[in-house]
Symmetry: C2
Subunit: 157 residues, 2 copies
DNA sequence: AGGGCTGCGAGACTGGTTCTCATCTAGACT
DNA sequence: AGTCTAGATGAGAACCAGTCTCGCAGCCCT
């Protein structure tokens, strides 16, 4: 018995995300546009965060070049709509990745030697952050956690 | 009975820090220099993190102008020696503050509206980070936690 | 099909940070 | 004290991620 194409399975979260994103954009009153579609499609295909530069390069290499301004515009819009997560990894560089529809999210390890990033998640860390946020005078609505160090490759010499 | 000047009291952590810093620099083989001293003295007098720009401005206003390059050089050196902590607050801006000699440290809230920062500390957050770090393949040696939101002033319109 | 408003992109611009290089100076050695 | 030299300093150029500007393109509604 082969799976039905129309079943709303959770086997393809990236497809789910892409459809959900396009629907959300449409609901928010945005028209369709080539640049936006290209960026969304690219982000949907990634498992972890990309820089704006990487997005620009990959689109160009893929034959669908997009203006720099559009890349940033789309990323800003998607971030506002909470469809992507913006991650500041230091040195003035930001990375972007899709937010999981189920609200899950992860944080990152950055290798300060080779620049590799690796995701991790930890419920008790999230819990600790939530508790701190509650007792502060700020209205906290986002948190960045970045662990810096050496990846397994770079550690051994 | 007045306190002895030579007693190594813990009543003036900033003085302790300044002396410790100058000693560490000397031990590491660095000569004395006016720019470095000026930056160290300024950092010693602060309770929370400053941007490079703020450091530059305050030194100029204080009649001890220092070259921009020197400010960054000193901050980089002190960061390498773990004498100051570099904090990335987003938008490509970094802030710097002295590391407490006792190893204590705090993290920051950033108001995304007006840029104000406010320190906070939380042992259970530190504990959570430590536990995560232990189970990962990376050799974690630093962590950044920045909470973004609206400060109490900006929250009420 | 027409018209208006949104989306788009080339390129100028910004601002924090880094680089370059000529000059200065701490401090070691005579 | 005078000399010497490597480290320290500072003015300004360069760099670069990110933002702005503005004229053109194309989506969508009638
Ligand atoms: Mn989290
Ligand atoms: Mn901490
Ligand atoms: Zn690495
Ligand atoms: Zn504020």
């Amino acid at each position: 018995m082969e799976p039905h194409a129309h079943s709303h399975s959770h086997l393809h979260p990236s497809l789910d995300w892409q459809q959900h994103t396009l629907a959300t954009l449409s609901d928010a009153g945005h028209r369709k546009g080539g640049a936006r579609n290209a960026v969304v499609e690219l982000l949907a295909a990634q498992d972890c965060a990309l820089t704006a530069q990487e997005i620009d390069d990959r689109l160009r290499d893929g034959g669908r070049a997009v203006g720099r301004a559009s890349v940033y515009r789309v990323l800003e819009l998607l971030t506002e709509l909470r469809l992507v997560q913006k991650i500041e990894v230091g040195q003035g560089i930001a990375r972007y990745e899709r937010h999981q529809p189920d609200g899950d999210h992860h944080h990152h390890l950055v290798c300060d030697n080779c620049g590799t990033i690796e995701p991790f998640e930890d419920p008790s860390l999230e819990e600790a952050i939530e508790q701190v946020s509650r007792r502060l005078s700020f209205a906290v609505d986002e948190h960045d956690v970045v662990l810096h160090g050496a990846c397994s490759d770079c550690r051994e010499q």
